[in-house]
């Protein structure tokens, strides 16, 4: 097993759901409850030193019979060790929220806004959780698997500019 997984298992045994190494890259699935602690440990533990958060995104595992419907995916990179690691935190459909990683890596802010925009996952403690790609008044979260590709009529009924607005 990978060093990262072992270190996590020592500290957060109850949080780990699954660990594997697909395509040679260590990946763990965790519960969402202590995700901020886990991420901070991965960053600050001198043996791991994941100083860079490459990306935060989400996956919709609808109808896949996993722990929960959504997974928030953290891709980590350590410059000093030249190592990569991926953490997936599972988030239930009924309450799609998770602690924000923005206070750990400032670069998380925009990526979390995108995950919020596309999947409707709320990042608690995020300094400015707004949509980043879709219009502010857009009603849905279009990357969810049950969202129709052509939308639900948004493209025909969006807010229009009128000359009076000037």
């Amino acid at each position: 097993m990978a060093l990262e997984t072992d270190r996590l298992r020592e500290r957060f045994a109850d949080e780990l759901l699954e660990a594997g190494e697909p395509c040679g890259q260590p990946v763990v699935a965790v519960k969402r409850g202590r995700i901020a602690e886990i991420l901070r440990f991965l960053k600050e533990d001198p043996a791991l030193a994941f100083d860079s958060l490459t990306d935060v995104t989400a996956v919709d595992y609808m109808n896949r019979d996993l722990w929960e419907r959504f997974a928030v995916v953290y891709n980590l990179y350590s410059f000093s060790r030249n190592a990569r690691f991926r953490v997936k935190a599972f988030v239930p459909e009924a309450d799609p929220s998770i602690a924000s990683a923005a206070s750990i890596w400032a670069g998380a802010t925009w990526a979390e806004r995108e995950a919020y925009d596309m999947y409707g996952i709320r990042f608690e403690g995020h300094p400015d959780l707004r949509r980043i790609l879709m219009p502010d008044d857009y009603p849905g979260h279009p990357l969810r698997k049950d969202y129709p590709l052509k939308g639900r009529g948004e493209r025909a009924n969006f807010r229009r500019y009128t000359a009076q607005e000037d």
């Binding site: 879709m134 219009p135 129709p148 590709l149 052509k150 493209r155 969006f158 807010r159 229009r160």
Partner: protein
Amino acid sequence: MGLESSFENNVITTLLDKVVNWARKGSLWPMPFGTACCAIEMMAALGPRWDMSRFGSEVIRFSPRQSDLMIVSGRISIKMMPVLLKIWEQMPEPKWCISMGACASCGGIFDTYTLVQGVDQFIPVDVYIPGCPPRPENVIDAVLKLQEKIGRERVREKVHGA
């Protein structure tokens, strides 16, 4: 001894439409609304290799107040459409619009939740250019077609939305 000397103290009669249209069509000032890959071809059409200035329409203006031809080249999302409308409203009359490429004209391959399926749902388009992307020659052809069209216009009727 220029040409003017042979017209000295003379009068020419013609239709007002013809004079005005002739003046308008020879110097279209395009407002480029380039949002995607098509814009690259539009830039090529304006550049030295294809040189749209040969047809009197090279004075690209990045201010809508100074332009009379909007070239929509690229995908227009529902977030961008209010911006496009605002810029269109800011262009003074008379004004014309070329919808360049499949995306601007009908959404192209992007039949998705976010893309406007043709800018002609919101602004009057005079010439459509098919293609993905159209070549610079097509852009020049569209300008020539627009010039023909302007030549046939009635000046008094040329006010959008009036």
